[in-house]
Structure formats: C-alpha cells, structure tokens
Amino acid sequence: MNKYFSLFAITLQEIFAYRLNMLMWRVRQVFVFLVPFFIWKSVLGAGGMIYGYSFAAIMTYLFGTTILRSLVMGSRTIDLGWMINTGALTIPLMRPIRLFIFFFVRDLADKIFNLGFMLIELPLIYFIFKPPLFLQFDPIKLLLTAISIMLAILIYFYINIIFGSFAFWSKDTWAPRFLLMVIMEFATGAMFPLDMLPQLWQNILYCLPFPYLLYVPLKLYLAADSAPLGHLTIAIVWALILYAITKYIWHKGISSYEAEGR
C-alpha cells in the first residue's frame, strides 16, 4: 500500500514542479466558468425561467459542472497514449505494481490537486460575482450524488484507458481523443443542461455513457432527476461494460506491445 502512497505523492510533486504551467492551467479553469456565466447572466440575470431553470438553478448547475469537471475529468491517464508510443510504459510494467491501480492513483492525485485549487477559486468567483446558488441538504440526495460521482470517475477512467490503448495499434492517438473531447463537451451536459434538448435527443444521450459523467450527478444534486435509481443503474451497467472492454483491449494491446523507443 505504501508504494501507492509514494506514487500519489510523486504525482503531486510532478504537478507542482512546473509552477507557471500549473498556474496557467488553473487560470484556464476559472475562465471555463466565466464564459457560460456571462451568457446565462445576460439571458436570465434579470429574472424569469428558461426550460424550468431559474438563474439560481443554472448557476448551481454551472458551479457544479466546474467542480465535477475537476473531480471527474482531472486525469493523468490521458498520458497513456504517449507512454505507449514512446515506450515509457515499459518502466511501470517492469515494476511490482498493478498497472490499473498505478493509473488510478495518478488520476486521484490529479483530482485532489484540481479539487484543492477549486476550493480556493470558487469562493473567490462567488464573492466577486455573487451568483445565487442552491444548496442541497437532504442526506439521501447527497448520498445518491456521491455514488453517481464515484461511478462517473470510474466510467471516465475506463474511457481514458480505452482511448489511450489505441496507441498499441496506431501512432495517431490525438485525433480520436480530440473527437472524444468534442463529443464529451456536448454529451456530458458541460455546455448546457441536456434537458434543454428535445425528449428524443435526451433518450438517445441517456443510452450513452457521457451524461453519467456530469449531467446525471448534477441533476441528482439538484433533486431534479425524474428517475434517479434508473439512471444510477445504467451508470453501473456502463461502468461494468467499460471495465470489460478495457480489460479486453488492454489484454490484446499489451500482447502486441513492443516497447518501441526504449
């Protein structure tokens, strides 16, 4: 267990080694919040509702997506493609560690780093812009939200491993990852809440794993999910399916790994 704690600490040290880089990354995360904030302020700032969302509800959604992005989508596993292509994967493969845990611990360090900074930045944003927020106190709703976030973390982790594993067969891992990022920006509900779309679109999106990364956890927090248990069940099913795909692809990939570049 100690070795994984060491790995966790080393990953954090790596992040803090390039301080200007780290600072710029954090500034970027703040600006990711500001653009939609101003858009919604211009539309709902004077009062009223759109698709059942008041300014307070949409601001809570926006704050929530900002926090969840850090927590769910903070990841070091995105380096996997690069590690395979350069042969850097050989080093952790030779060590007495379980590789999936190695990646997961590195992911956790990244998430803790992001969350730590978020807890400083979001109060600052709150005190500067004073957006109205909705706070959830119902323990059942909070528990469901927490379970949903844990499932989201697992789903995103497996998706990252699957996309990174493409590097076993192709040098071009950036193109599929770019496409994944673009699709996720829309299909996770990061751009706008998915219930603003027509019902048919929502039904299609609910069949994909993406809404379970941001949208469903936030709807659970806002107590606005019409089928919380049903959505949690689908999230569990997706986590299991992606786990099986990850295991299969990884097994196939590692047997064709040539440690090229080392």
Binding site: Y18, L20, N21, M24, W25, V27, R28, F31, V32, L34, V35, F38, I39, K41, S42, V43, I50, Y51, K171, D172, W174, A175, P176, F178, L179, V182, I183, E185, F186, M191, F192, M196, L197
Partner: protein, 262 residues
C-alpha cells in the same frame, strides 16, 4: 517576401503530404470533430435563443452571424499560426537554434511553419457559412461589405499575430507556451458571443487590449450598419502599436535566450 511565400508553400505542401501519407483517417476524424464542435455551438445558441429571443439586443439570426464570423476568423488565424503549439518542443530539443541560424526570420519559422491543411480545407465552407448567415440575418454581403470585412480581417489578424508573438516570447524566456496559448484560446471563445454580455469593463478589455471584439461582434455590427467603417482607422493604428510592442518584447526575449537545450 517571395522567399517567405515559397518556403511557406513548400512547408505547407510537405505537411499536407505527410498528413495524407500517414494519417488519412486521423484527418477525417479531425474534420468530423471540428464540424461537430461548430454544430454543437450553433445548437447551444439555438437552444438558448429559442426561449430568450434576444441576447444582448441581438436576434438569433444576428447572433448566428457573430458565431459564424468568430469561427471563420479563429480558423483563419489558427490555420497560419499553428507553429506556436509545438514551439516549446522546438526550444527544448534545440530546433529553435536552427531557426536562428536560418537566413529567414526565426519568427516566421516559429509561427508560420506548421499550417494545418485540414483548416485550409475548411476555410471555403466556413466562409460560405458566413455569407449564408449574413443573408439569413437580412444583410446579404455586398462588394463594399466584403471589402470592409477584408480590412477587418487584416487588422484583426495583425492583432492576433501580436498576441501570438508575445506568447512565443514567454516561451523563449520561461519555456511556458502550451497552457498560455490554450488560455488565450479559452479567452478567445468569449468572442463567439456578442461582447456586450461581458459588461462595460469586460467588453472594453476585449476591444482595446485583446482582438476579440474585432473577431466577430464589430465586423457583425459593420454588416448590420450599427457602427461606421471609420472606426477601423483607430483599430488599424492600435493593431500597428500592438505589433510594434510584440516585436520589441520578442527581440528582448531573444537577447536572454541561452540555447541551453542544444
């Protein structure tokens, strides 16, 4: 000037050949990803304005023109200034030293040497989209309007180039380019919406410090005849001052370059 053009052409053709030879599927994925991203931005605008009707005083069809103009200008500027995304690597691996030894300007190689052929292909449909959006808004593009838009494009390109040169200068001094240029890109996305939504202070910064207002809102206002083309004289002077300042900072940064990597 002719030498610069010929070298740029040669490098672009090589880049195109490399992409066709090595990553045809990746190129298709990139095109699909870019079109999907644009479509989802339009969808977001439609979803919001389907209920809100006006955003900062602009109708849906006017806001669509602003988004189309932003997309076009952003693509054109990125198309030519792609080199910035790999500049850090060039400094780290010592390639930048070869740029300095070359008879052509090191700035030219650093900024313009990696033109993206995919973006080059997308320019035609994107410009047609602008023409359609203007027509849809009730302001079909006439010859004088196209001349004015061309002047805006040249001016805003100069301002965008100045910002890119400043970021390259940071790269020479501190090796930090990647997150800085991505921060610039995040900020740039604010230009996709009418800049009035960012308040007086925000829109003043986006107009006089950054080139963002000039990317979409101001040219759209010129198409809608909400502003006089005479304002372009002031922006032209501003663009020249920004370029002069950026070149001064670039020259200063080169004086502190130690060539430590090679």
């Amino acid at each position: 000037m002719k030498a610069y053009f010929l070298v740029w052409l040669k490098l672009t053709v090589q880049q195109f050949q490399s992409q066709i030879a090595n990553s045809r599927v990746a190129a298709l994925i990139f095109i699909f990803g870019k079109v999907f991203r644009l479509a989802s931005a339009f969808l977001m605008l439609y979803v919001i304005m389907d209920k809100a009707k006006l955003i900062a005083g602009y109708t849906l069809s006017q806001a669509i023109l602003i988004l189309a103009l932003f997309n076009f200008v952003s693509t054109v500027s990125q198309l030519f200034m792609r080199g910035i995304y790999i500049f850090r690597q060039k400094v780290v691996d010592g390639t930048f030293d070869f740029y300095l030894l070359n008879p052509l300007s090191e700035l030219f190689y650093s900024l313009f040497s990696y033109t993206d052929p995919i973006d080059l292909m997308l320019i035609v449909p994107y410009s047609l989209l602008v023409a359609w959006a203007a027509n849809n808004a009730g302001y079909p593009l006439t010859f004088p309007t196209i001349v004015i838009l061309f002047c805006v494009l040249l001016t805003v390109f100069t301002m965008i180039m100045s910002w890119h040169i400043l970021i390259l200068a940071i790269g020479v001094k501190y090796l930090e380019v990647d997150n800085t240029i991505m921060l610039y890109r995040d900020l740039e996305h604010m230009a996709a919406m009418p800049i009035n939504i960012y308040g007086k202070f925000g829109s003043a910064i986006m107009t006089y410090l950054f080139p963002f207002a000039l990317m979409a809102t101001i040219p759209a206002n010129l198409v809608f005849k909400l502003q006089s083309p005479a304002i372009m004289l002031g922006f032209f002077v501003l663009a020249m001052l920004q370029l002069k300042f950026a070149l001064y900072i670039w020259t200063s940064s080169l004086k502190s370059y130690s060539s430590a990597s090679s």
